[in-house]
Every structure is written in structure tokens, then in C-alpha cells.
Amino acid sequence: MNLLVRVALLAYPRSFRRHYGAEWTRTITDMRTHSHHSSVRVAGVVVAETFTTAVHMRWENLMKPTKTVLTVIAATIAFAALIMGSEAIAILAFAIVVLAGLQFAGQDRPITPTDPSITRRWYFWMAGAAGAFLLGLGVLAIDGGDELTSAAWATWMLSWATAAVLAVIGIGLGATRILSNHR
């Protein structure tokens, strides 16, 4: 448990660890010794917050200094693609998605208690991983000569990388759910 707590704390931004790390650790000790929750339940909360609160803080920290730079780059790409016309429609669409995402990410959204429905939907992530994996397989089957074309190679790599990321999230959420339900 102590190892889990130490590893979970590393998921939080350095500034948070420095200011609240000792108190955060002390509070988990209090939860284990004084509350009616079992150690397994407390471990579940710690792991769940690593996937939600810690990621949320990391994302906010990342977006604070880079948001303006990324917005300017995406806006420049969108403008260039607009001038180039229909040939660059995919680039334009991508730049618009990035711009919209940056606006959403820029909102100072509150940190909320871990919603059990997040872990409840772990299988959505696994289904997404399976879909991305099958897409990669499909590319290999369709363009499965001795050597893949560059477009097929990029699609295959992207789909399997996505599958790996989605699977890791799904497994993490599933494990958290099992830990949280085990009292």
C-alpha cells in the first residue's frame, strides 16, 4: 500500500506534490486507520484519482503555458489550409478540431469527486481498443503485400498505437472498479 501511495503521488504535478504531498499522504494514512473504509477501498480511491484528478491537474498544468502557442500554430495551419483549398480539407478539419479542443481545454473546469460511472464504462475503452486493433488488422489485410504504402503504414501504426492507449486506460479503469467494489 505504501508503495502504491508513493507511486500514485508521482502522477500529480510537482508543484502539487511539494505543497500538498506530505499532507496528502497523511490523509491516506488517516483514511486507512480511522475511517470505516477498508484498505482495499482506500487503494481503489487512490488509483481512481490517479486516472481522474491527477490527469486533470497534469493536463491543466500542461495547457497553461502552451495553450497560446498551440492556438497560434493551429490557427496558422487552418488559415494556410483554407487558402490551399480542397486539397487540404483534411488538414483544415484537423486544425479546427485542435482549435476547438484547445478552447475546451482552456476552461478552468472544477475538480469533482471521482464519478463511479467513469470506471463503470471501462469496457467502452476496451471496445474502442478492439475496434482500433481490428482497423489496423484490416489495413494489413487489404494492403498486405511485401511492403505497406506510406498511407497504409501510417494508418496501421496510428490505429495500433491508439488501441494500446485505449486498452491501458480500459484495464486501469477496470482494475480500479474491481478494487473499489471490493470492501
Binding site: Y12, F16, H19, Y20, A22, E23, W24, T25, R26, T27, I28, D30, M31, H34, S35, V45, V46, A48, E49, T50, T52, T53, A54, H56, M57, Q107, D108, P110, I111, T112, P113, T114
Partner: protein, 124 residues
């Protein structure tokens, strides 16, 4: 709902408060507390339906300190009996005003729900 940037001269700019922030304000309305005491109070107040983990708690407290709603206190009840890792928090005057404004907002919402017999219609 698009929220404005919080401005101490405009209490409404803090509203609606996130549920976690309002829970912390209500917990601290009873006096200054350390993190685990806040967490336990929230658990009691909500009848166990809201379990706030330490990451959420300190993330929210950090944000509320940045917004001037909460402050750390230097005083400790009894240093000999207490762990030095614990910090104590209390509401600021702004935090109290924002909490009162959120209470009024929630009361108005509850009143509207009662006037429209939301509970009764939900049972049929």
C-alpha cells in the same frame, strides 16, 4: 453554461459553485479543520453518498485558496498532539459571502422544484 472568470467584486461570477467546493465551504463553516476532518465531515453531511478522495480534496482546496475562498491557518490546536504534516484551513470573508450566495441560489432552485411538485411528479 459558460462561467465568467471569478471576480471578488462580483460574487455572482463565482456561481454556480462546483459541488466539491460547496461541500468544503459547508464543512469549514463549522470552524477551521485539517484535510482529513473536512473529508470526514463531507462524508457525514452527505450520508456517505459523496466520498471525496484526497486528490480531489487538495486539488479543490488549492483552487479555492487561489480564488481567495479559503486560507491556511498558522494556529494549531495542540502541536504536541498533532501531526506537523497536517495543515488547517478556514473560510475567508469572501468564501463566506460566496457560500451564502450559493446557498441562496440552491434554495431558490429547491423552492422552484417544490412549486412545480417535482417530487410528486417523479413518484407517478
Amino acid at each position: 453554461m459558460v462561467k465568467r472568470k471569478p471576480n471578488p467584486d462580483d460574487i455572482d461570477s463565482y456561481l454556480p459553485l462546483p459541488a466539491s467546493a460547496m461541500h468544503i465551504i459547508v464543512a469549514l463553516a463549522g470552524g477551521e479543520k485539517h484535510g482529513y476532518a473536512i473529508m470526514r465531515d463531507i462524508d457525514d453531511l452527505s450520508g456517505g453518498s459523496v466520498t471525496m478522495g484526497p486528490g480531489t480534496l487538495y486539488g479543490s482546496i488549492k483552487r479555492m485558496i487561489d480564488q481567495g475562498l479559503v486560507q491556511e491557518t498558522d494556529e494549531r490546536p495542540d502541536p504536541a498532539l498533532d501531526d506537523e504534516r497536517r495543515r488547517y484551513y478556514r473560510l475567508t470573508a469572501l468564501g463566506q459571502r460566496v457560500g451564502a450566495a450559493e446557498q441562496a441560489r440552491l434554495a431558490a432552485l429547491l423552492n422552484a422544484a417544490q412549486l412545480r411538485k417535482l417530487g410528486l411528479s417523479g413518484l407517478t
